[in-house]
């Protein structure tokens, strides 16, 4: 054995404290991935959803670079699938059958059904908190960098309970508990977060969030009042016109006008609120980042309300484009099929039925068609607007003992908690 040629480019770089650079490397081929996932979902009767989602995450995680080395997502479609099946069997199906049983025993108009529904809302509010925490735990435990796992320790039930009771506080404070609640929940999650064997620390208080929140709250009040007045005014004017013209009988044109006015005003109001709330959300994101610490390093985020609005508008247009594209595809296939067979629908009822079923499936699922692109845009914005300040002793960070949870985020999936 002799090695007369020294290995090139060998150097160890982990020994000292050092600053980390956070970058985004735009993934290529997200459109192809969107279409492939969508088609595979259709031909597997929806089951491929979990594997498609996993591939999207692998791409997005890989796009995030710390010091030019990618994050790694190690979760599997099978874990997500099994997690969902368990939640389906233990939560969704009992809820469905319970509702049916109550309706059969007491009747669809009985107060028992209303009580059941009320209890259901309480249960769901509890489960959403638990699901959020469990989903976060699953995702972190499947996230690695340089082979070192992230993690979330602590009890999901405790988080779920805090989520629940602080939710009950909101209406009594006319919403003013929102920053306090968000900060409290953020602290719980952050303090339980780990990279390897090292914890994250949250030091923020809700105080600095009250300025931006006051603007949001007052703005929302103005929107509410203006919306109410405009609708009132519109209804009164139209009503007077209708009374004058037809003695109180509303014709269809007037009703159409009413619908346009009510929905139009509501849409504008919702849009105005979304824009307004984007500024608060940006302030909250930046505040939370600035008070998150890891081994002496912290995060500096510079998201802006305008930036979030821009991302939301772009995402909405992309979402719309996905639906339109799916509809056009169904239409094209239907026309093509009709031409190829040379028959009218009446002559081939079975085929028509099968095709309309497929059409329904396509339309129902089309909403998620371009979601990989939407998720990438959002993540990219957040990553590019964030940097890590301070130094981290990388070589001292060892693998954590926590293996995370075995199955994937079924609860979060069931209640559609977020898009990732």
């Amino acid at each position: 054995m002799a090695n007369d040629q020294p290995l090139p480019h060998q150097q160890a770089t982990g020994g000292r404290r050092r600053a980390l650079r956070l970058d985004w490397v735009q993934p290529i081929g997200l459109l192809g991935l969107s279409i492939a996932n969508y088609l595979l979902r259709l031909v597997t009767l929806g089951t491929y959803h979990f594997w498609g989602k996993t591939e999207v995450r692998r791409r997005l995680w890989s796009a995030v670079r710390l010091d030019d080395e990618p994050l790694e997502y190690t979760g599997t479609g099978r874990e997500l699938f099994v997690g969902f099946l368990i939640v389906f069997a233990l939560v969704l199906l009992p809820i469905l059958l319970g509702g049916v049983a109550v309706a059969i025993l007491f009747g669809p108009q009985s107060p028992a059904l209303a009580i059941y529904q009320l209890l259901l809302y309480v249960l769901i509010a509890l489960l959403i908190g638990i699901g959020t925490s469990r989903a976060q735990r699953y995702r972190l435990s499947r996230t690695r960098w340089r082979g070192i796992r992230m993690g979330l320790v602590g009890s999901s039930w405790r988080y779920g309970w805090t989520y629940f009771w602080t939710l009950l506080v909101l209406p009594f404070t006319l919403g003013w508990a929102t920053p306090w609640r968000a900060t409290r929940l953020q602290r719980m999650l952050t303090d339980d977060m780990r990279f390897g064997d090292r914890p994250f620390r949250f030091t923020g208080s809700s105080g600095p969030l009250y300025g931006p929140f006051a603007i949001l709250w007052l703005g929302a009040l103005v929107i509410l009042v203006v919306t109410g007045l405009v609708i009132q005014l519109g209804l009164t004017n139209l009503g007077i016109a209708a009374i004058a013209a037809k003695r109180g009988q509303l014709d269809s044109a007037t009703i159409a006008k009413l619908i346009v006015i009510v929905y139009g005003v509501l849409a504008v109001a919702l849009l105005a609120y979304s824009v307004l709330s984007a500024f608060y959300r940006a302030a909250q994101f930046n505040h939370f980042a600035a008070h998150t610490f890891f081994e002496g390093a912290t995060f500096r985020a510079s998201t802006t309300g305008g930036g979030l609005v821009w991302i939301a508008i772009g995402n909405f247009l992309i979402w719309l484009a996905g639906i339109v594209a799916a509809l056009l595809a169904v239409f094209a296939v239907a026309v093509g099929l009709g031409l190829a067979l040379g028959t009218s629908p009446e002559q081939t009822p079975v085929l028509t039925q099968a095709f309309s079923l497929l059409g329904i499936a396509v339309i129902i699922t089309a909403a998620g068609l371009l979601s990989p692109i939407i998720q990438a845009r959002t993540t990219r914005y957040l990553v590019e607007r964030m940097e890590i300040v301070g130094e981290v002793p990388l070589a001292e960070i060892a693998q954590g003992q926590d293996q995370g949870i075995r199955r994937g985020e079924g609860l979060a999936e069931a209640f559609d908690i977020d898009a990732f």
Partner: protein, 376 residues
């Protein structure tokens, strides 16, 4: 000369999975696996150890390899936590050739294949069941205990006739009971049928679970003779005997569960639209079955089947071909109503007795008298 001298062709970064440090290494794609030229920090660099070899068969990549890959993050099943990052598209394409199971196409197909096969199997079973006349919902409905069916029937009737009064004029009620008993006895089900008339202008009749039937005031007003009403009643009893209402109920629950399962829980209201449409597509064979039962019941009860045929014909004319949304259940367009009317007429030829006397028929016509009806 040493043939095993390590000549790296790529540069990468290696982490051992023990700490978050990483080191620059030389990488080569060997015959059996990726070869990683590491310098053991303890050895001080004087004599580098033999390269690590990660066999191609036990590799995993952070994202599947594609033609447009610009870098690869590899891990190895037997060295958990260790990762190798090679920022080179050339390396990615070379690795794709050496380990084709890591490419996008291979990974997707590996994950999707069992479910594509399962979906095909489900489709095949569904098609076979449809061809063989098997309906799982009907089978389940057959297992529902009477208690549940009765409860279900009560709730269905309550929901259907909400806000409508029940027509209970004593003479009319007696006539209806007479008619119901004669047909119900002929039907020969496990339990007698229970018929109510709702004060409702719509021309329609419904069968509900648990041997319950609702006739509307509009239907009785529209009928020219007691035999016509008896025919409609026999048809609805046919639905009841075949457990069609129970089957529809079981199917609705099953479809709701299946949709929730397929859409990953987030289906919501859009899915319900789909469900309703699917249910409409199911009612085809049921009408023929109910007609077959109706023919049998009427024959058994010695009621003329021509009454139902006449009722079909007259309503068909009135509705202008029977394609409007207001088509009553007895007239649903599968199979074509004209064909059904002819089938009824063809079954005639046995001795019949009128189901009600003229006086009883008049009383039935007036069963809703005394109620202040809405104009509908």
């Amino acid at each position: 000369m040493h043939s095993d001298a390590f000549q790296p062709s790529f540069e990468g970064r290696f982490s051992d999975g023990v700490s978050a440090a990483s080191e620059t290494v030389g990488v080569r794609l060997g015959k059996g696996g990726i070869e990683i030229g590491r310098r053991n920090p303890d050895a001080g660099g004087a004599s580098p150890p033999a390269p690590l070899v990660w066999p191609y068969g036990a590799l995993a990549v952070a994202q599947p390899l594609a033609a447009h890959s610009i870098d690869v993050l590899v891990s190895y099943a037997h060295q958990p936590g260790a990762t190798l990052f090679v920022p080179s598209g050339t390396f990615a394409r070379a690795l794709a050739e050496a380990a084709p199971q890591l490419t996008v196409g291979a990974e997707r197909w590996r994950h999707a294949r069992p479910w594509v096969l399962a979906a095909a199997l489900v489709g095949l079973v569904a098609a076979l069941a449809a061809l063989g006349g098997l309906t799982p919902a009907r089978t389940v409905a057959g297992f529902l205990p009477d208690k549940i069916r009765v409860k279900l029937g009560e709730q269905t009737i309550a929901a259907m006739t909400e806000g409508k009064a029940k027509c209970e004029a004593p003479a009319g009620r007696a006539a209806l009971d007479l008619m119901t008993r004669r047909l119900s006895d002929a039907a020969g089900g496990t339990r007698p049928f229970d018929v109510v008339v709702a004060d409702w202008g719509l021309v329609n009749a419904f069968a509900a679970p648990g041997e319950r039937i609702v006739l509307t005031r509009g239907l009785i007003a529209q009928a020219d003779s007691a035999d016509e009403v008896a025919g409609v009643l026999a048809h609805e009893m046919g639905h009841g005997l075949e457990l069609h209402p129970e089957t529809g109920f079981v199917r609705a629950i099953g479809l709701a569960a299946a949709t929730e399962l397929m859409l990953g829980g987030g289906g919501g209201t859009m899915a319900n639209v789909g469900l309703i449409l699917v249910q409409i597509a199911y009612t085809r064979g049921a009408e023929t079955e109910a007609d077959t039962q109706a023919i049998r019941i009427m024959k058994e009860a010695r009621v003329a089947p021509t009454g139902l045929a006449q009722f079909f014909r007259r309503l068909l004319k009135k509705e202008g071909g029977g394609k409007s949304l207001k088509v009553p259940d007895v007239l649903s367009t599968h199979p074509p109503s004209e064909e059904r009317a002819r089938r009824m007429e063809a079954s005639a030829g046995y001795a019949t007795t009128p189901i009600l006397t003229d006086q009883q028929w008049k009383a039935l016509k007036a069963i809703c008298a005394g109620i202040k009806s809405d104009p509908d």
